[in-house]
């Protein structure tokens, strides 16, 4: 009797796996962890059009929530509540051409931002406008992108455009406002060389931000600092100089090679350079600082895609951020000549990891181990803050078809970052108390250990005799910080697929 039960159990398990493997739907194709070896390649629009086979479109209404008991990075706030509406589509036109696009609108609130009155902190730091008071801000983002790819014999060609318009503002003092326009254009090509597909793409970016802070209550005016890195500021133009803009952009080159038959070694190389100039609007656009972000990334891996999916890969990312300060001369009718330009800020970020992916049609597991080192230096008076971590990450995903019209996707992840080394060198005796507190806060979180875990579930329901479907998704996660703080995150969305 027990043998019968065991046989039935095995048959049921095989049946579930078979049903799930038949669920090689567009959703699986577009959301599977199995895409990891191709994640870099899809930045090349020519290859993006070739990566997926099935058409897939989705309209989603969702919300992202995050809360930190104390802001890990004060300039980015202690959390957010960001509802959004997003539609994206990928549509093969015929056997040769593909179009894809995305449009989204997001609006919400970012909580308790301090020491930052500028939008796009990750992009522009440390050259931001800042004050000690801060507060909640409203964020509104419009984003639209579209691409086209086609293949002619052994050649693939593609183009893609992405536009982001964003504004952030605060409706109480200090009333910061940042208005961002960000345009990226990519052109790519690919060629089938024997059993390999090689690709090259070039990407150009134009970035602008107008940034200002206003005070409506005269007695509540506080200084706005032109930050220059690691708790330093450009004193001459700090205080009441609260209107500036950023002018920037850059280029990127991406190279890719992978086997056409889905099995064999693959490689990606990305080189990019972006620069951002901060200028004072009220002094004839006097340039204050220039920030240069240079990045090189390389991946080498080997993948096998048959009944099961296997990939092993190594990746290294190096980013150098160089900050030049313009030295203003004597003023003449609100015009300040630039008499010198000095490299005062230097930052190096190295992120390197090795990973493996194993999966079948209805599940994937990805494990990664790596090392990340961040080093920041302000040349004179000398300041330095370094921190490095070793980390491990584990991700799992499975697709379950509990009933004929239902598809359930479950994702789980966990990671641990352990501090490997740290260094802090600051002229604390000569620093203002507020700046000292900022540096101590940032250092505390830079050298902490982090444990992160979370899960996400998505249910898709196919409507009767229709290409339309409904879905609901919910996920959450928690990050525990060894500095006795933690972060909770929640994500929910509903929508239709078509």
């Amino acid at each position: 009797m027990k043998r019968h039960y065991l046989l039935i159990l095995i048959l049921v398990a095989i049946q579930v796996a078979a049903v799930a493997s038949n669920a090689d739907t567009a959703l699986v194709e577009h959301t599977s962890l199995g895409r990891i070896p191709m994640l870099e390649a899809v930045r090349n629009p020519a290859l993006h059009g070739m990566v997926y086979q099935a058409p897939y479109s989705q309209l989603a209404l969702g919300i992202d929530l995050q809360h930190q008991t104390q802001a890990f990075v004060p300039e980015k706030g202690s959390g957010f509540t960001l509802p959004y509406l997003k539609v994206n589509t990928f549509h093969p036109l015929n056997g040769r051409s593909t179009v894809w696009g995305e449009a989204s609108y997001m609006t919400g609130k970012v909580h308790d931002i301090k020491w930052n009155s500028t939008s796009d902190y990750d992009l522009l730091q440390p050259y931001i406008l800042a004050d000690t008071l801060g507060g909640d801000i409203r964020r509104e983002r419009y984003s639209i992108s579209g691409g086209y790819a086609t293949s002619i014999n052994k050649w693939q060609l593609g183009a893609e455009m992405h536009v982001r318009a964003e504004q952030e503002y605060r409706s109480r003092d200090p009333r910061m406002r940042g208005i961002v326009t960000d345009l990226t254009l990519s052109l790519g090509g690919g060629y089938d060389l024997e059993r390999y597909r090689i690709g090259a793409a070039v990407e150009g970016n134009i970035y602008k931000q107008t940034n200002s802070v206003a005070f409506y209550r005269e007695e509540g005016v506080i200084p706005e600092y032109q930050m220059t890195g690691l708790g330093t500021e450009y004193s001459r133009f700090s205080g009441d100089k609260r209107s500036l803009y950023y002018d920037g952009g850059g280029v990127a080159v991406m190279l890719h090679a992978s086997p056409i038959n889905q099995s064999g070694p693959y490689a990606d190389v990305t080189l990019d350079e972006h620069r951002y100039h901060r200028k004072l609007a009220e002094f004839n656009s006097m340039p204050l600082t220039d920030l240069y972000n240079e990045h090189v990334g390389a991946t080498i891996g080997w993948k096998l895609e048959k009944i099961h999916r296997l990939a092993v890969f190594g990746h290294a990312d190096y980013t150098r951020r160089t900050g030049n300060e313009h030295v203003g001369g004597t003023s003449d009718a609100r015009y300040f000549p630039v008499i010198a330009c000095l490299t005062m800020y230097k930052s190096h970020i190295l992120d390197t990891y090795a990973g493996a992916l194993y999966g079948r049609a209805n599940w994937n597991v990805n494990i990664t181990a790596g090392y990340r080192a961040v080093s920041e230096e302000y040349v004179y008076p000398h300041r330095q803050m370094d921190a490095s971590h070793v980390y491990g990450k584990l991700r799992g995903q499975c697709f379950i078809r509990p009933a004929d019209k239902w598809l359930l996707t479950v994702d789980v992840h966990a990671s641990y970052y352990a501090k490997a080394s740290d260094k802090l060198n600051m002229p604390l005796a000569n620093m203002d108390a507020a700046f000292t507190r900022l540096i101590q806060h940032k250092h505390k979180f830079a050298i902490a250990n982090y444990t992160d875990f979370g899960a996400k579930a998505r249910a898709d329901y196919a409507l009767n005799q229709s290409r339309y479907g409904l879905f609901a998704e919910a996920g959450g996660g928690m990050t525990l910080c060894s500095a006795s703080e933690h972060q909770t995150a929640l994500h929910c969305s509903i929508g239709i697929t078509f």
Binding site: R236, E294, R320, V327, G328, T330, C341
Partner: protein, 113 residues
């Protein structure tokens, strides 16, 4: 295009300033004992130096624009070779120390007696 677009790095950020104190009129200054306060106009960073060699003092600074304040005592020699100690101060609102070589500045004294 990418490789020609690398960040222009200017690591040569320091320079040497040589400040000399002179007197107006018939008297000449033979030696100085004074404190020189140099305030960087842009960073507001203050550098203080007092080791005069005769009537000049040399200091290494961040390249930039400076405000200079000097206050101290000078040994003055008159045309009749009489020597006396006089209190003085010098001041300049704006001096550029930009050159990678030595930047020389001469300031005239204001005697306080």
């Amino acid at each position: 295009m990418l490789f020609t677009a690398c960040a222009p790095v200017e690591d040569d950020i320091f320079t040497t300033a040589c400040i000399t104190v002179t007197a107006e009129g018939n008297e000449s200054i033979t030696s100085v004992q004074a404190q020189v306060k140099l305030t960087n106009v842009n960073t507001r960073q203050v550098t203080t130096v007092a080791d005069f060699n005769g009537t000049s003092v040399t200091v290494e600074l961040l390249r930039g624009a400076y405000q200079i304040d000097i206050e101290g005592v000078a040994t003055c020699q008159s045309p009749g070779n009489s020597i006396r100690m006089r209190q003085f101060r010098c001041q300049s609102d704006y001096e550029e120390f930009i050159s990678r070589d030595i930047n020389e500045v001469t300031l005239k004294t204001i005697f306080l007696d």
